[in-house]
Amino acid sequence: MVMTTNVDALTASQASTRLAQGDISSLELTRAVLDRIAQIDGQIQAYLTVMAEQALVQAKEADRRRAQEGDQASPLLGVPIAIKDVICVPGAPTTCGSRILEHFESPYAATVIEKLCAAGLVIVGKTNTDEFAMGSSTENSAYFTTRNPWDLERVPGGSSGGSAAAVSAGMAPLALGSDTGGSVRQPAALCGGVGLKPTYGRVSRYGLVAFASSLDQIGPFARDVRSTAMLLSVIAGHDPRDSTSMPRPVPDYTQALRADLHGVRVGVPQEYTVEGLQPAVSDAVQKAIAQLQDLGAEIREVHLPHTPYALPTYYLIAPAECSANLARYDGIRYGLSTPDAPDIWEVYRQTRGSGLGPEVKRRVMLGTYALSAGYYDAFYLKAQKVRTLIRQDFDRAFEQVDVIVGPTTPTTAFKIGEKADDPLQMYLSDVFTLSCNLAGICGISIPCGFAEGLPIGLQIQGPAFGEERILHVAYAYEQATGWHKSRPQISKEHDR
């Protein structure tokens, strides 16, 4: 009864409590989320596919399980979740935001999806993404551009922009995204939510459509830190089907959430003050650092001298891996095909030429070039060596501090179209998030203020498998400030 009126403001953690107390059922909660999608997604366009029918079946099953399992029920049983459309969910298309996979239905579920189902979460739909997760705005989606719930003229960030916008606009309390260079943290920052990129190897990539295999990680979105920790506890863990997942036990991440920061050493890198950093973003981050100090943290300056080289390093390594991974879209085994082509080579050329969008082609070209004879040493190998230097920067910094804080993005959400014609400018919006993937460490973005009505994100990075540390600091800050409680006002007048 209460639910239908404020579903957009409810965190997954609060939903979990109400479900456990019997105040609401999963069916009511799921219906409220689906209603909300029907009311406002015509404006936001966060979802590529809404799985209403399946969701209601899963919700009923969750209610049945709760009746049976009682106190033993898993904490997120019956809580709705949205899935970025690069993660394989049977029973719906997995398009990756690309024409080349427009009608592709995965015959199997990603490991994270199996884990969600085992924990009883309710999958409400697949969210929009830049094509094959390549982009920072969702403008590279072959289908449409998702709108930022705080300002419909602006991008939600990307590539997991659909997931970030869905959570921010109340169209799902939780979502999964993928983060190769910032694609969870950057849209979380721009939409005013929480987004976490786990350590490389923390979450199985089985069933995540590959973009850059040495950088990709699946990560959770939520409206607060506690819900993020709860979802991470569900999806993390070793998977025999992903040989790059680490055989390490998974803690209950909510145990790390404490409001006191005494004894925590927070590093602030000089190098994160760059040209193009919006003054309001810089101010908000400075205030956040002062707040962390007030909460008991010790603030230390650290150096990450190779930070300026992260962008060129990333834009050689990620495209190189992408060009190899995307060779599979050849019009033979699945996806778009051009049957009228005269020979097999033309099938390849025409399928890929017509099925892949401009940004994907650009990166396939860049990566093919960087790996080609005569240029491999100068570009790809060079970038891999600089990647070592970037990792060493973080290794040294984490000898002195527990976490590193700074802005998630140099600016708040930019206007749709503003950077669409200039790939380098677009790439710069990930300048603070890329090195985390190159180093394989973990990072989280949480809200830390507003500039002219647009959310600002604070990034907290931790060492490999330091998720408990970044969640601890994020939680303490969040509880002391409450920025996460602000929600965008979206009129329900314009129905689909």
Binding site: S243, G353, S372, T388
Partner: protein, 97 residues
Amino acid sequence: MSLTRDQVKHVAELAKLRLTETEVDLFQEQLSAILEHAARLDELDTDNIPPTATVLPLRNVMRPDQVQPSFPRQAMLQNAPAVQEHCIKVKAVLESE
């Protein structure tokens, strides 16, 4: 670092991408700009730095060599553009004169 039109076309052929002439022009300009930015890496002396291919301490992950159930053939073929007698149908790979 500037790419020629011929280089762009050569790379497109390596990647098996059919490009329009407009795309060739666009990529010539954009890839040149990106590679110019990438040339910043030359500022760093990396002669004695080992490359990072993976951040993980894991190498050569093995599993027991045991027969396990795999996906049903029908499910694996459901997305294929052309199927004939439980096989994926492709155009001739080896030329016959």
